[in-house]
Structure formats: structure tokens, C-alpha cells
């Protein structure tokens, strides 16, 4: 049976959440509970209103374009995409046609996919406005124009992905880049990221650099989570493969499908033949906008430290493993938290361990953000300091950590409250150890014969005698010293 390879392309829409106002109107660009509170007349398409470009949004779009190695135009235009739908007050969207002059064309991005380095070509990046949000009820629907006019960055890749893993790894990399560049919160839970996915399959042994070998393209619209992207791609590959095996592939026409989260399937919407003609033409109310080389350079200089740069730093400067470093940079809030700890003087490896082994697990389980975590970098720093000073043991620290989260008290306060400070006085421990050894002559003999696990027994006895308060590593070394003496 012939095997197939999948050719996948992505259209990633990400809201620019970090401007003060919308892309063409002066309405506030922020989340609001009250519907229709962040609106200006333009956002509801009142007659006589005109778009005014938000320079900050253009700057952020250009920054993304530069980061992705795209070519920027000398003059930028906008275009109208004309179609009717209740979520578009003007019934046209101001966007940019893919050529010749959107914010960026022909770039590329190298990203990590399960330890392997991959590259994807970026066809174009363009700036456009978001639509209003619709809510559907049984006999009516409501329209909230708060989102109408929010700046949106659309990124279109070539069909270079060969698996769902690659596509999702790319999306995670892009999300991090948008966060670090200060362009967007890029939170798919807030609906700030939406994707359209293109999937086709071809025989495995065909040359995929030759476009004529590509199979029939299927577009899957409005996949709104990274998990959804993964599932939609895998489902679609399976569906198309089955068509091939059943000899029905040739009948499949180029089409648009909708990802249905509930059933976990893609559902046919329309064929390419019925494709909507958007009647694009240049937006006459926005004169062509000059993008000078000086401005590009200025923007380039202000690009903040990117995830890949932090990754290098964590690995090369702090000697963290690639695995740990990758986990730290995935979300900017996590990386910022880590760096805050370092600023306070925490050892990078210690901070890294705590974050990757305890904190990340906790926030994922509780479905909270790093900002919502009760234990601040300062508190974590104090906790680690207490371990380093041997005031508490690692095991005690772990208990304190979870107790602190539960009771919302700082670790330092808890340790004080519970009187958990370890016994670190040499003499005190030594005396206890001498006492124990005095009663364990056979065990001393066993140890000297080579039964090294007897040491653990002795340490256990010390812990029992001190009700867990002795520092175990200290106890261990003193025990060895005392054994030597005997």
C-alpha cells in the first residue's frame, strides 16, 4: 500500500492586543465586559465615517515582519475585502491583499519541533481589522462591536509543514514571539488567536518542491485552539488518506471545511467553485503610507529580547538543559518570572528546577496564569535561600511550597509559624548520632562490610530522633565521620 505525506499550510490570525486603540478608530483596544462600550462611530459603520490608521499598530506589524525576515514595502496600501455578514458593520473588511504591498512578504522562521530544527517559509504577513463578536441564541443573535476594528495580524505560511506536530510547534513559537515582542498577549483562551489550516496529501516518494505534485488542497476554517489545530490536521489527513485507499480521492474537489470541535470532524462548507469573490480594491480613504528605511531600522533596534535569544542565554550562560530552557521560554510570563528570580540573586539551576518541576505543573492543573500564582519570585527566592542555608530540607521545602499556595501565606511566614527550621548545629546532631551509633554496633559492622544502605537507616534514625528537623545531608556526613572514628 502506498504511503502518503501531508503538506500543511497555516493562516494564523493574531490580535495585536498591545496598542491603546483600534487599528482604524480611536476606540479603546482592551477587553471589556460591557458590550458595545469600546466603540467609535466607524466601528459600527455609521454613514460618513472614515478609517484613520493607527501608527503604533503599523509599527508592531512591521516589527513582526522584520522578526520573520520578510521584505517590507516602500509604500503600504490597504484593500477592501467586500462581503456581507452581520459581524462586519461596513460589510467590507479593511485588510491588505497578499501582494504587492502588505506589511511583509517572503520571510522564514526556524523553529524547534520535538528536538529537531525545522524551517517554514512565510508567504506574507498583513495587517487588517477584526470583526465584531456574535452570540447565537435560540430565536435571536446578539452583536458586540467591542472587537470590531481591533488590529489583527494575519500570517500565511507556505505548505511546508509535514505533520500536525510541526504546525503546532510553529504556532507555539509564533505565540511566544508575539508575546516577547510586546505585540500581543497571544492568548487563545481569550480568542486572540484563530487559525485556518490547509491540508493536502501526496504520495510519499514524490518531490514536494514541485508544486504540480501537490494533492488537492482542503482549507479548514476557524480552528481556535492549538489542540484543535492538531486534531483537525490529523483528522483531515486520515480522511483524505481513506479517500485515497477507497479510490475516491480524485472526486474530492478543492474545498473549504469547518472544524467541528464537538464531533472532532471537519464538515464540508463550500467548494472552490463556489468560492466567494471578494471584489478586492484599494481602500481610497487611506493614502499610500510611506515606510522609510530609517523607520525600519528604528523599529529593528527596539525589538525586545526574543524567545530564541533567551533560550541561548539560558543554555549557554546559565548552563540549563535544552529541555528546561525550552520549557522556561514557552510563555513570556514564565520566562519573566524566572528572570525576576535571577535578579533577586537566585541560582539559575535552582530557580529553573522549581519552575519547571513544581510551578508549571501547578498552574496547568489549576488553570491559572503565571501572574495569578500566589508565590512571587521574591517568595520563591526566599524559599530557595532557606534550603541553601540549610534552614529547611528539600523535602520540607516541597511541603512548604504547596502549603503556601493552599493557605496563601508566604513560605518564610509558614516556616516561622510551623517552627520548621532545621537543626543545623553540628554539636547537637553529632550528639544524637553518637547516641544512635552507640546502640547499633552490628549495623556499624554491616556498613563496614560494604552494606552502604545501612547509612540510610542511620539517617532515618536521626530524622526520627529529631522529628524530621535534622538536615539529612549534614547528618549523613557526620554519621560517616563518627563511623570512621569507630
Amino acid at each position: 500500500m502506498a504511503k502518503y505525506k501531508a503538506c500543511i499550510g497555516l493562516e494564523m490570525h493574531c490580535e495585536i492586543s498591545e496598542t491603546n486603540t483600534k487599528v482604524f478608530s480611536s476606540a479603546e483596544n482592551s477587553y471589556k465586559d460591557t458590550p458595545n462600550a469600546n466603540v467609535r462611530p466607524l466601528d459600527m459603520g455609521f454613514p460618513g465615517t472614515l478609517p484613520v490608521i493607527n501608527k503604533e499598530a503599523v509599527k508592531m506589524a512591521l516589527m513582526a515582519s522584520i522578526i520573520l525576515g520578510c521584505k517590507q514595502p516602500e509604500y503600504m496600501y490597504f484593500e477592501r475585502k467586500n462581503y456581507y455578514y452581520p459581524d462586519m458593520p461596513k460589510n467590507y473588511q479593511i485588510t491588505q491583499e497578499t501582494k504587492p504591498a502588505p506589511v511583509g512578504i517572503y520571510g522564514s522562521l526556524t523553529y524547534d519541533c520535538k528536538g529537531e530544527e525545522k524551517t517554514v517559509r512565510i508567504n506574507n504577513l498583513h495587517l487588517e481589522e477584526d470583526a465584531a463578536s456574535l452570540d447565537h441564541y435560540s430565536t435571536y443573535s446578539t452583536i458586540d462591536y467591542n472587537r470590531a476594528g481591533v488590529p489583527l495580524l494575519e500570517l500565511v505560511t507556505e505548505p511546508d509543514f509535514r505533520s500536525a506536530d510541526e504546525a503546532v510547534s510553529f504556532l507555539e513559537t509564533m505565540r511566544a514571539i508575539y508575546q516577547y515582542a510586546g505585540i500581543s498577549e497571544a492568548d487563545s483562551k481569550k480568542g486572540q488567536i484563530r487559525c485556518d489550516v490547509n491540508v493536502s496529501i501526496m504520495d510519499e516518494d514524490l518531490d514536494d518542491s514541485d508544486l504540480s505534485n501537490f494533492g488537492t488542497k482542503v482549507e479548514i476554517k476557524n480552528v481556535n485552539s492549538f489542540g484543535g489545530v492538531r486534531d483537525a490536521i490529523n483528522y483531515e489527513i486520515k480522511r483524505q488518506t481513506e479517500l485515497k485507499e477507497d479510490g475516491k480521492y480524485e472526486e474530492m474537489e478543492q474545498q473549504t471545511r469547518r472544524w467541528d470541535e464537538e464531533s472532532g470532524t471537519t464538515v464540508y462548507m463550500r467548494s472552490k467553485v463556489d468560492a466567494i469573490d471578494y471584489k478586492y480594491f484599494v481602500e481610497p480613504n487611506i493614502p499610500k503610507y510611506k515606510i522609510s528605511k530609517e523607520w525600519i531600522e528604528e523599529i529593528r533596534k527596539t525589538i525586545p529580547e526574543l524567545p530564541s535569544e533567551r533560550l541561548d542565554k539560558y543554555m549557554n550562560q546559565y548552563n540549563l538543559s535544552k529541555y528546561d530552557a525550552t520549557n522556561l521560554i514557552k510563555e513570556k510570563s514564565v520566562s519573566d518570572y524566572f528572570e525576576e528570580c535571577l535578579k533577586l540573586g537566585t541560582d539559575p539551576k535552582s530557580a529553573s528546577n522549581w519552575i519547571t518541576t513544581r510551578i508549571l505543573g501547578y498552574i496547568n492543573k489549576e488553570v491559572i496564569s503565571m501572574e495569578e500564582l500566589f508565590i512571587t519570585p521574591k517568595m520563591l527566592h526566599e524559599l530557595i535561600e532557606m534550603i541553601d542555608k540549610k534552614e529547611i530540607s528539600s523535602k520540607q521545602a516541597k511541603d512548604v511550597f504547596y502549603k503556601a499556595l493552599e493557605e496563601k501565606k508566604s513560605p518564610k511566614d509558614l516556616v516561622k509559624e510551623l517552627g520548621m527550621k532545621q537543626i543545623t548545629d553540628d554539636t547537637e546532631i553529632r550528639n544524637i548520632i553518637i547516641g544512635i551509633l552507640d546502640e547499633n554496633e552490628e549495623n556499624i559492622a554491616k556498613y563496614k562490610e560494604g552494606r552502604t544502605n545501612v547509612l540510610d537507616y542511620f539517617v532515618g534514625q536521626v530524622m526520627r530522633a529529631t522529628r524530621g528537623k535534622a538536615n539529612p545531608s549534614m547528618a549523613s556526613s557526620i554519621i560517616l565521620e563518627e563511623i570512621e572514628k569507630r
Binding site: 462611530p41 459600527m44 459603520g45 455609521f46 454613514p47 460618513g48 465615517t49 472614515l50 478609517p51 484613520v52 490608521i53 477592501r80 467586500n82 456581507y84 452581520p86 458593520p89 461596513k90 460589510n91 467590507y92 443573535s141 452583536i143 469573490d277 471584489k279 480594491f281 481610497p284 480613504n285 487611506i286 493614502p287
Partner: protein, 485 residues
């Protein structure tokens, strides 16, 4: 004593001398409004509760004016003469109107137009046809029909208009008054219902050139709400108005102006063109040089199609916001599609619908290059041709239309190919955003006719000065419509 048939300066003087009060002017203007409404059907709304304003140094303060119904006016019905907006009251005013308000001007009525500006006759508004005050069997032309009729009838010294293809400048000619469309972007379009965004201009109708300068001085200004507006704060049209036109060079186009070019020209056309030649002589008497130039007839003839394609395409897109969902009288429907469709079907006139069909057709993927992009290319050719003329000449001077106002009934609606270019050339002023003014230059069949002067972008002062000088050499300045029997 009547004041509304006088010039702005005369009225302002009378106010300063306390010969009359703003309140009295408003009363006079409202009375006239109701009379003219009876006769000519020029108004959508008459603002009987218009409030007087303080008289200041500003020449417009305390004085009534009319506003075309496609300007958003806060708290006042603004319909665009369309049933789709028959109950629409904006909650903001157009920038140009706010500027007039700041000057102390008093709006007393909203004038009838061709629906959304899409017409050149004054017959397509939702409240009916506007009749020409000179002859009620004739049209005023459009789309600023009501504004032209009202100013010609002496309701007030000026009214705002808009011009996308000739909508200020042709009604001015048919009504024997002045119509001025400044350079694109001089007056902000924010709040003006968009028809064809790359062609729409704000402007004014008055009875003399000086008044046009005064009003536009007050309407203009760069607006942060309109990216196509530009800073004209160093331009003072009224202050710098003068008649020093000696040595200025004008040209007219032989393919349009010479009666020999028209086989079977009717009597009115011949008289109109002869009259135009007399106007040329007046220009020469004033010390201006006037030369005949030639422009490719095929190019001139193409203008009409260019206009239809571009204006219909842009209009179709611009009017897509009219669905009845947020504003306008909402229609019934089983779902949103039906709701939108019924609203638009019920609200738009057949003429507009026809334009939407054309607009959609020329933008369709398979037609776009052949129609829309070719129209844009020819637009570029026409603009470049005029810009070439402006390298040598201060302005292009041409007759407006083929004669006086056309009859409403039995008007030959079939486009006469031969005279089409003459009827349509004003559009070129919109293609290039050129400043362009029409002034009355005579009578044919006892009805007024006009001449048009168009100059290069940003050269408004020059164009106004030429018009001002020429106006001074003729006897049609400040004329009020006298009904022709």
C-alpha cells in the same frame, strides 16, 4: 427690507450696524424656505426652531445657510434623500459643518439631493423632484439640486454641496449661480455620506465668487478624522482674492468647444458655444491669454465610462453598511440575510440598484481588469493630460454642459454620443482632485448657462481669482432666479 438675496459681506455689514438681527434673518430665511418648498420642493427638512447666533468678526456669523442632506448633522435628520435613511438622526456632525457652526453660521434647512449623490438631475430623491426656480418644467441638475435651487431663489446666500462627478458645478450652471469644488482634501469628508470616496468632494453653492471663497475658508482645514485631508492653514482664499489676472494663460479644448465638431447641433447648443466664445473674448479683454488646444477625442469620449465604472464600484462598496441592522428602518426577515435584503430592496430606488449591479459586475474577479482597472488606467491618462495642460496654462476653461437646464418631461434621455463628452467633462475635475468653479456666463433660451474654470491641485487661489475677475467683467453676479414664463 430683504437680506437673504444679498451677498455675505452685505448681510454681515447690516448685522454689525444693527440694521437687522440674526433672529430676523432666520425668520426671513425660514419664510422663504417654506415658499420655495411649495414652488420647487428643495428641502427635506426645514429647521423652524433654528437659533440665532452671536454676531462676531467672522463674516458668516449670524447668517442662515442650507446644508445638503448627505452631511451628517447632529440631532438633525440626515437622509441622503434615500428611504434607507428616512429616519436617521446622526449623533455627530460632519467636520465641515462643525467648522461652519464654530464660525457662527445658522443652518436653517437640509436640502434635497439625488439619492446619495448618485444622479445628475435632481429627480431621484426620496421626497421627489426638485424644480428649477427659473423654469419649473426644467431640472436643476444634481445631485446638489435643492442647494442650487434654494440659493438661486434667494433663500440664503449659500448652501453646502458635494461633488463627485459634477454635482455642485452643473446645478450651479443650470440655476445661474456659482458652484465651487476646491482641491480634494481641502475640506474634510468626515461625516459626508460616502458615494465614491476617491471622487467625493465637499464644496459650496453661492451667488458670487467672493462668497464662495468666504465659505470655503470656513469649511476647510486638516482633519484628524480624514486621512485624505491636508493642511491649508496658510491659504486664505477670501483675503488673497484679487483680479490681477493680466498675463494669465487659459486654454479651451477644441474638440469640445467648437461648434464645427458637432454635426446636426441644435440651436441651443450653437448659442451656448457661441456664448462661450464671447466669454473667451472677455477673458482676453481682461489681459489673459486664451489658447485653443486639442485633446484626443477618444480619450475625452472615454471619460463617461470611466466615471460609471469607478463611481459605481466604489459606491457599491460604500453603501454596504446600509443593512438596517444598526440604523435605518429595519426590515422583517426570517434570518439576517432576508432582513438585509428586504431593507435594501425596499429602501433603495431602482436607479441605485442598477448602479450596484454595475458596481458589482465591474469588480468581479473575471471582469476586474477589463473594467475596473482599465477605468483606473484611463483615469490616470486623463489626469496626466490635464496635468500636462497645467504645466503651460493656469487653467482650463470650458462651457458647462450642452446648454441651459434640460426639460423634465420628454427630455431626450438617450445619451447623445456626440455631445456626451461636453456633458461629462466636469468629471475630470474629480479624477484629479482639481479645484474647479462654475460661474454664470449668460442666457440661452432665456435660461442661465455657465462656464467652468479648472486649475491644478492646490492652485485654488489662482482658479478663484480668474473666476473673480471674469465674473466682474460680466453682469450675472448675484443674480436671483426670475421665473421664466
Amino acid at each position: 427690507m430683504e437680506y437673504m438675496n444679498k451677498s455675505i459681506k452685505e448681510i454681515h455689514e447690516a448685522l454689525l450696524n444693527k440694521e437687522v438681527t440674526s433672529k430676523e434673518l432666520i425668520e426671513e430665511s425660514l419664510k422663504k424656505s417654506h415658499e420655495v418648498q411649495e414652488k420647487c420642493n428643495a428641502f427635506v427638512s426645514i429647521l423652524d426652531d433654528a437659533k440665532e447666533t452671536e454676531v462676531t468678526d467672522n463674516l458668516l456669523s449670524g447668517i442662515p445657510y442650507g446644508c445638503k442632506d448627505n452631511y451628517s448633522t447632529k440631532g438633525i435628520l440626515s437622509t441622503g434623500s434615500s428611504n434607507t435613511l428616512k429616519d436617521y438622526v446622526p449623533f455627530f456632525s460632519a467636520t465641515a459643518i462643525e467648522n461652519l457652526q464654530k464660525a457662527g453660521a445658522v443652518m436653517v434647512n437640509k436640502t434635497v439631493m439625488d439619492e446619495f449623490g448618485m444622479g445628475g438631475t435632481g429627480t431621484t430623491g426620496h421626497t421627489g423632484t426638485v424644480l428649477n426656480p427659473w423654469d419649473k418644467t426644467r431640472m436643476t441638475a444634481g445631485s446638489s439640486a435643492g442647494s442650487a435651487a434654494a440659493v438661486a431663489a434667494g433663500v440664503y446666500p449659500y448652501a453646502t454641496g458635494s461633488d463627485t462627478g459634477d454635482s455642485i458645478r452643473k446645478p450651479a450652471a443650470y440655476c445661474g449661480i456659482v458652484g465651487y469644488k476646491p482641491t480634494y482634501g481641502m475640506i474634510s469628508r468626515y461625516g459626508l455620506f460616502a458615494f465614491a470616496s476617491s471622487l467625493d468632494h465637499c464644496g459650496v453653492l453661492t451667488r458670487n465668487v467672493e462668497d464662495a471663497a468666504i465659505v470655503v475658508d470656513n469649511m476647510k482645514g486638516i482633519d484628524k478624522n480624514d486621512m485624505t485631508s491636508w493642511d491649508s492653514s496658510d491659504i486664505h482664499l477670501y483675503q488673497d482674492l484679487n483680479k490681477d489676472v493680466k498675463g494669465k494663460k487659459l486654454c479651451y479644448i477644441k474638440e469640445l468647444c467648437n461648434k464645427e465638431m458637432y454635426e446636426n447641433a441644435d440651436q441651443e447648443l450653437i448659442e451656448h458655444l457661441d456664448n462661450f466664445k464671447k466669454t473667451i473674448e472677455k477673458c482676453k479683454e481682461l489681459g489673459m491669454e486664451v489658447e485653443e488646444v486639442s485633446v484626443d477625442q477618444t480619450l475625452l469620449n472615454a471619460s463617461a465610462s470611466v466615471y460609471v465604472v469607478i463611481s459605481c464600484a466604489e459606491a457599491t462598496s460604500n453603501m454596504s453598511n446600509l443593512t438596517g441592522i444598526i440604523f435605518g428602518p429595519r426590515a422583517e426577515g426570517k434570518n439576517y440575510r432576508e432582513m438585509m435584503k428586504n431593507y435594501r430592496t425596499e429602501g433603495f430606488s431602482p436607479l441605485i440598484k442598477r448602479r450596484f449591479v454595475i458596481g458589482s459586475y465591474v469588480l468581479q474577479a473575471q471582469n476586474k481588469d477589463r473594467y475596473f482597472h482599465n477605468a483606473q488606467r484611463v483615469r490616470r491618462l486623463l489626469v496626466d493630460t490635464w496635468k500636462d495642460l497645467f504645466k503651460k496654462y493656469d487653467a482650463v476653461i470650458l462651457p458647462v454642459g450642452t446648454g441651459p437646464a434640460k426639460k423634465l418631461e420628454g427630455s431626450n434621455n438617450i445619451l447623445d454620443k456626440k455631445t456626451q463628452a461636453l456633458d461629462e467633462h466636469l468629471q475630470i475635475g474629480n479624477y484629479g482632485g482639481f479645484p474647479s468653479i462654475t460661474i454664470p456666463n449668460g442666457f440661452v433660451s432665456n435660461l442661465p448657462v455657465g462656464v467652468n474654470i479648472t486649475g491644478n491641485c492646490y492652485d485654488d487661489q489662482n482658479v478663484l481669482n480668474i473666476a473673480y475677475a471674469l465674473e466682474g467683467a460680466m453682469e450675472y453676479k448675484n443674480q436671483i432666479a426670475k421665473e421664466v414664463k
